[in-house]
């Protein structure tokens, strides 16, 4: 470690502090990553117990599959819509919470409760809640004379978007709220002396300070929305036809049919599609003093 150019004491502590991370990456991440890439280059499937190396053929098969690109298109639209809506609503909700009011502690927990339900269970609960014959929502709507179909072919996509917003706005909220806690009170006080309204001062002060949090939240939420699986799969199975097939469902179907090579290759393509967002996020996190 002494070979580092700068004889800074940081040179040693960085390795010590970074050791757990580096050890974990080496022990747990490198092999699966490498093996996964290896599988992506094999014609491995259940029907083919002795796979051979076929290079980029799987990637080519995925890239040439029009249904893959339809899945990508649906996924991109889904991701952009839910991420932006959730970020905005989550931020507004955090602003609303960012003050004293009775019952705050309990309500904070209640607000993030939806995030605590495993998506696999949440999908089933949505399926029950929205069931036309035994679900609560259609029954209540029909009391008000609204005989609308929640899963009809016109309604299903907006429905899925709404459900995602319902479950994941609290995620954005939690991160924004935690971020706001590090904005010193003094800043707000200074702003209110100037006579600016709460919402205005809140926006003026918190938005710039919370930009890194917003970027990370957008990244985490965006990537997770891009990889959404359980709720959509449980509710629609990707249908009707492939109208709601997202990339995760595409990959899962390949995987559960035993087409491991294709599933791995499709995963690689998805990663490549998303890769350009990484530098954008990481740049935001870079230490301003060092860059």
């Amino acid at each position: 470690m002494s070979q580092l150019v700068r004889p800074n004491r940081a040179s040693r502590s960085r390795w010590v502090l970074g050791a757990p991370l580096l050890i974990f990456l080496a022990a747990v991440v490198l092999f699966p990553l490498g093996y996964g890439l290896f599988v992506a280059g094999q014609d491995r499937s259940l029907l083919n117990p002795d796979p051979s190396w076929i290079g980029l053929d799987n990637i080519a098969a995925v890239v040439q599959d029009s249904s893959f690109w339809r899945a990508v298109r649906f996924t991109v639209i889904y991701t952009v819509v839910v991420t932006s809506v959730e970020l905005i609503l989550g931020f507004l909700l955090a602003l609303l919470f960012n003050r004293r009011f009775p019952g705050k502690r309990l309500l904070l927990s209640l607000t993030i409760l939806p995030v605590m339900i495993a998506p696999a269970l949440m999908g089933i609960m949505f399926r029950l809640l929205l069931n036309q014959d035994i679900g609560l929502v259609p029954s209540v709507l029909s009391v008000f004379g609204w005989e609308i179909s929640l899963f009809g072919t016109d309604a299903v996509v907006p429905m899925l978007l709404l459900l995602d917003v319902l479950q994941w706005t609290p995620f954005a909220f939690l991160l924004f709220y935690a971020g706001m806690q590090s904005v010193p009170d003094e800043l707000y006080e200074a702003a209110s002396i100037d006579g600016s309204g709460y919402w205005r001062s809140a926006l003026a002060i918190t938005v710039p300070l919370l930009l890194p949090v917003a970027v990370v939240t957008a990244f985490l939420r965006g990537v997770d929305a891009f990889r959404t699986f359980d709720v959509v799969y449980v509710l629609t199975g990707g249908g009707p036809g492939d109208y709601t097939t997202n990339v995760s469902i595409y990959i899962y179907k390949a995987f559960s049919s035993g087409n491991f090579g294709i599933a791995a290759a499709a995963s690689v393509v998805v990663c490549l599609i998303l890769l350009p967002v990484v530098p954008v996020v990481v740049r935001r996190l870079a230490d301003p003093a060092r860059s």
């Binding site: 502590s13 502090l17 970074g18 269970l121 809640l129 014959d133 709220y177 709460y198 996190l285």
Partner: protein, 296 residues
């Protein structure tokens, strides 16, 4: 009235009362409570219906949702606790151990690691990019490789194995969030500490850590929840010893339909541990800690 609303730094969107009986500020605060309660109610509609369903008999579940049930039953809770022949107490214990283990491991890895990357130049940004990129790969990509790795190392179907797998899943989230919080820590504090002769380790433990408390609480909650919610890895990497609740609950989705009552009861029970954890973590989610630490 309108002018006063503006002049108050903590005004809300609630219309000010015409005749202020209680002090305006308190009334406003109750207005916020009402608004937040309404939002929380909408967000928790699925859970609320799960709660209702969990107490209904199968016969009542099979009929209209608005029909007043003939009877209430605890049968579904009995099933969700193991009566149905599935070892739910164990699944709950497994999920709890896996989630807590993952939170601890993530904090142990990410806090020093993020400081080393954010302040001490570890990896020069490339390492962070690599970790962030891990998040982009669909989890299923790793299913077969992890199965292979775990089968060979004896981690298959064990709690440490599931902790490892979930740490892997949450590593990008933990690292990025801690990085974003470290970025917010003013350099002056650390510089001052260094001048006082503090080591980097001491700075992390004594100065940075307290400043990060709200973010670490949020990270802990999210990591706990993520590990608690994991399903796909658990299906592939466990078979009986380390089975978590999510996989156990899947037993109620059968080839002849979904056991709505049982799975509703399981859902209700399964939010309790993360909820308790969140309530516990919440006390670190308060403002002032950071300001206090800066002054001190």
């Amino acid at each position: 009235m309108a002018l006063e609303t503006i002049s108050d730094g903590r005004g809300t969107t609630v219309t000010p009362p015409r005749t202020p009986v209680v002090p305006r500020r308190r009334r406003r605060a109750w207005g916020v409570t009402a608004a937040v309660s309404a939002i929380a109610a909408v967000l928790n509609l699925p859970l609320f219906f799960a709660l209702l369903t969990s107490f209904k008999s199968d016969a009542d579940i099979a009929r209209s949702a608005l029909r007043v049930p003939d009877t209430l039953t605890l049968e579904h809770y009995a099933n969700a606790m193991g009566q149905a022949g599935y070892d739910f107490p164990r699944y709950f214990l497994n999920s709890t151990l896996i989630s807590i283990g993952t939170v601890v491991t993530i904090l142990v890895i990410c806090v020093p690691g993020a400081y080393a990357m954010g302040r001490l130049g570890l990896g020069r940004g490339h390492l962070l990019k690599g970790i962030a990129a891990l998040r982009l790969i669909p989890v299923i990509f790793f299913a077969v490789p992890f199965f292979l790795l775990f089968s060979r190392t004896g981690l298959y179907d064990t709690i440490p194995g599931m902790v490892t797998a979930n740490t892997f899943i949450s590593l990008p989230l933990g690292t990025l969030l801690v990085m974003s919080a470290i970025r917010e820590v003013p350099h002056e504090i650390e510089e001052a500490a260094k001048l006082d002769g503090c080591s980097d380790y001491r700075i992390v433990a004594r100065i940075v850590l307290p400043l990060l408390a709200p973010t670490l609480a949020a990270v802990a909650v999210l990591v706990f929840i993520t590990a608690w919610s994991d399903y796909l890895f658990a299906v592939i990497l466990t078979s009986s010893e380390a089975t978590p609740v999510t996989v156990g609950a899947a037993n109620f989705v059968t080839s002849t339909g979904i056991r709505w009552g049982d799975i509703s009861a399981t859902t209700v029970l399964s939010v309790l541990p993360p909820l308790v954890f969140a309530l516990f973590a919440q006390r670190y989610l308060v403002r002032g800690l950071s300001a206090g630490a800066i002054k001190g």
